[in-house]
């Protein structure tokens, strides 16, 4: 980062240090506390940030010792040390046994024992044959006085540096300090390092930049309701931010990009004048295939092509007059001018329940109540008895529709396909080839040159056979079409495997984007 932007990002704690010290001047924690009224935390932050930015450097580091009273020390200062209290008691009451002293002073045996030991070694106390202790010398010694002085001094000043104490005092302090393992010290020794910092050359430049840009460190950190109310911001500047801090990730609510893709497709189709249809997932053989004039013995109607429902296995009934009319069209063509498929239509089989295997079911059902002229579409879930892999799914979306009109014909069908190729797929080149579907005649496939994917089959289409439309009550030609949009969906989402369109993985779906 260049110095200028670094300077803009400095915290007020840093800015004030730079502005208040000269190059070469020694800077310590105490100085910051005195001059800038920083607390210890502020000092540490300022030093750590500035040195990490190489604006301050450490000049020297000195080790120092300090002494403080422990809790016990404070107690002794207030209530007297055991030695002082024993001497006082004996001077008031005369000779006493150790246990009597212990009891009267409410001390522990070992404290009385060690105090007696110390005092007797110095010759202040002696013990009689009756094990009674008495004072043998009138006044107490220097050591006790020194200890009392120390207790009072430390109590008053809280903490004293070693250099402010006499050698004898230091010795007493050390001897009565808490050892690491013991909890019973009177004093505790603290070790501190005094670090002296100076401003670096970069720091001096930073300081100049700060001065030049008028940054004082008194800039406003945050806009708050209070300063907006009291107008404090009016004569102040705002602290600059480091705009290069990486942004934090946000978890947001989002539509599924595949859903958006399908939604856009629906919008597009409805903008082209198509009305959306919808219907149940469970269908009958009748609507799934029979109504589409697929003979009941057709090879694509095998147990290995559609999913059958276990229970219930059959619909109660098929709507009339469609059942009779469709059955007749299979058997002998009914009134359609066809010879039909020439077999006996199975009216039990036709009630069988299956999971709809193509969207054309809904096109057929729509015919029973369609407007003329009319355009309809659906983007609907279908089910196939297929081994699932990157290019095959057991349940998936199909896009299908119909156009009804007195004057629709092969040329309007081609026009419709051209419109889909251009509007839905963004293709410039379109090719039509004859196709085959059991329910349309003639049938046309549309191949397009996609700007990214190259040539591929966009869809299949045709004019519904009269054996499909007439038994369902439609007298006009009906264009039927289906679009294969999966490859475009994958491309739009940057995917290669159809299974990923229906991913369970939350993170994958969260990170997925449309192109």
């Amino acid at each position: 980062m260049d110095l200028e932007s670094m300077v803009r990002g400095l915290h007020p704690l840093e800015i004030k240090v730079l502005l208040n010290f000269k190059g070469g001047e020694e800077i310590t924690k105490n100085l910051l506390m005195e001059r800038l009224s920083y607390n210890e935390g502020h000092c540490n932050q300022a030093f750590s940030w500035l040195t990490s930015k190489n604006l301050l450097k450490e000049k020297s580091r000195t080790r120092r010792f300090f002494y403080e009273l422990t809790e016990l020390g404070i107690k002794y200062q207030k209530e007297g040390t055991p030695e002082e209290n024993i001497l006082k008691l004996l001077s008031q009451e005369g000779p006493l046994t150790i246990s009597a002293i212990t009891k009267k002073l409410n001390l522990e045996n070992r404290d009385v024992g060690s105090a007696y030991g110390k005092l007797s070694r110095e010759g202040f106390l002696s013990m009689s044959e009756k094990k009674e202790i008495s004072i043998s010398k009138g006044s107490c010694g220097e050591k006790l006085k020194d200890l009392r002085n120390l207790l009072n001094k430390l109590f008053k000043s809280g903490r004293m540096p070693e250099e402010s104490l006499r050698k004898e005092e230091t010795e007493i302090l050390k001897s009565l300090s808490r050892k690491r393992s013991s909890s019973r010290g009177v004093f505790k020794i603290l070790e501190r390092e005094d670090i002296i910092y100076t401003i670096t050359e970069a720091g001096i430049k930073a300081k100049e930049l700060l001065k030049a840009s008028g940054i004082t460190g008194d800039e406003i950190g945050a806009v708050t309701p209070e300063i907006l109310k009291n107008g404090e911001w009016k004569n102040k500047r705002f602290r600059s931010y480091n705009i290069n801090v990486p942004p934090l990730r946000v978890l947001l609510g989002r539509k599924n990009p595949y859903g958006e893709f399908l939604g856009k497709l629906k919008d597009k189709l409805s903008s082209l004048g198509f009305e959306e249809f919808d219907g149940p997932l469970v269908e009958t053989e009748f609507w799934n295939s029979d109504a589409l004039y697929m003979p009941q013995f057709h090879s694509a109607r095998d147990i290995h092509d559609v999913y059958y429902v276990k229970n219930p296995s059959h619909a109660k009934e098929i709507e009339q007059p469609y059942l009779d009319q469709v059955a007749a069209s299979h058997e002998n063509g009914w009134k359609t001018g066809s010879r039909g498929w020439e077999y006996t239509f199975d009216r039990d089989f036709t009630r069988k329940l299956i999971l709809r295997s193509h969207g054309t079911v809904l096109s057929a059902k729509t015919l029973t109540h369609a407007k003329v002229p009319g355009k309809y579409f659906g983007v609907v879930r279908c089910f196939r008895y297929d081994k699932v892999d990157a290019t095959h799914l057991a349940d998936f979306y199909q896009t299908e529709g119909i156009v009804l009109g007195e004057n629709v014909n092969l040329k309007t069908l081609l026009g419709l396909l051209k419109m889909f190729a251009e509007e839905v797929a963004g293709a410039k080149e379109v090719r039509y080839v004859p196709g085959y579907f059991p329910f349309t005649e003639p049938s046309v496939e549309v191949h397009i040159k996609h700007p990214v994917l190259g040539w591929f089959e966009l869809g299949g289409s045709g004019i519904f056979r009269p054996e499909v439309t007439e038994p369902l009550g439609i007298k006009v030609p009906v264009l039927a079409w289906g679009l294969g949009i999966d490859r475009m969906a994958l491309m739009s989402l940057g995917l290669e495997d159809l299974r990923e369109l229906f991913s369970n993985d939350i993170e994958q779906v969260r990170l997925r984007r449309r192109k």
Partner: protein, 568 residues
Amino acid sequence: MPKIEITENLLTHFAGRKFSEKELEDISVVAKAEIDGRNEEEGLIKIELNDTNRPDLWSTPGLARQFRIFLNDKEYCYDFFSGGKETKKYGSRVITVDPGLKKIRPFITAFQADGHGVDEPLLLDLIQSQEKLCWNFGRKRSSIAMGIYRADLINFPVHFKAADPDLTGFIPLGGEKKMSLREITKKHPKGLEFGWIVAPFNKYPYLEDDSGNTLSFPPIINSAHLGAVKVGDSSLFIELTGTDLNSLLLASSIAACDLDDAGFTIKPVKVEYPYETAYGRNIVTPYYFQKPVVLDINYSNKLLGENLTVEETAEYIKKMGNSIAVKDNKIILKPPPYRNDFMHPVDIVEEIMIGRGMNSFKPVPPEDFTMGKLSSTEEFSRRVRDIMVGLGYQEMIYNYLGSRNEFVEKMNITGDDIIEIKNPMTENFEILRNSILPNLLNSESVSGNALYPHRIFETGKIAVIDSRENYGTSTKNYLSLLLSDREAGFNEVNSHISAVFFYLSMDYSLKEAEDPRFITGRCANIIFKGEVIGILGEISPQILENRGIEMPCTGAEIDLDFLIRTNS
């Protein structure tokens, strides 16, 4: 759709010319064929035939015939067909039929083909087209099965019998010892594959010649003796057995035309039935059974959006290999003997389209004005999705099929209303979902590493058994949502539900509920206009444990159809 593999040499031979890659692609259109792949080194071409009603195109001679006719503008004549008042000479070639076959496999057709020795590419092509024909058109041999034999070894008449499966036996092709018919269905690979066709019957179809030599056990396997056709054989006997006479007649006509194209002389065979058929008790095959179809050119012009004259129209139909006669505005089409796909005059319209060429039709944009509209379900679901996204939820899209284990067992429910698939391919797809919550929980179980909180939802369809409905089932539109986090609780999700209802301008209330999927005392039914339309609650730890989820989850599910009905 059938896919075949043909050799370039054989195609060149039958078509009478070579095709460049581009030429082949262009001409394929007239047969609705797609080039699926090419092996330059071995000279092989893979072709997909889209029209399941044109089995005549599933062989090299058949495909080449369509190309040749189209390019040469020449009609084809085959002179070996009986039919109508004409009966061709059949000599001693007679098949008798056992009355017992009427309910088992009632029909047989046959012919003999004599010529030069059959070479390997032709033999392979013959076998391939026979298999495609019997598999795709003959419904896996159940309605059509074909057998090819060495004609010079056969002693006519041939007898088509209903035989005792245990007392009748022979050495099957590819075998070494004699097996009974029943043994063949139990042990021979072809018997295991196709035995189901004869399994329901007490007697099995059986074909032998007058000397008692076995031809075959149709539709399963030929005999090792008469039924082992080899390269070099110059006299072939071809028979087809099955359940639908028209399909059989068509299939034998196709085979006969193919062999005729290959330079064989087709010799008819008479079949004597002990019962009536659509064409009498005695049928000499190959037999032309097709009926003429009449097209009014006003009809074809209306569908094509053109104004073609009767002469032009006739021209294009002929180009596809059809014989026609013209009378005023009507064209009478006599289908070629190898085709039977003219069910309605509309089928002739497609011949005109292909004969004239797809490019000759100029696209016209649809003229009728119609109003575009999204379904009420879609409109409403979009409103709901927008609110959910605003609440910070990620939309998920799931498969509708799942396993019983995920949707019933792991949800601690009895699953009485769940729709099961009778013929699942795998247990991963054995039921149709009755709720979206298991999908959302599946997501949780694979997303433990995704940054929390997880807020996910889906609006989609579910289906359940519903005996009040005609279909015994009903499909519903649901909203389901799940919140998973360290502190994912009832109250938070209830706030979300309350926001959903607020912005839909609807009211709801909660009523304490017991549900094995949720923690007791932390679960409520969502009530709308007095009806229970959903549920809300903290997911039971047992359910979470069942899926290995280690983060608390709270979920809700609402039947949107109630709301949609109110809205519209």
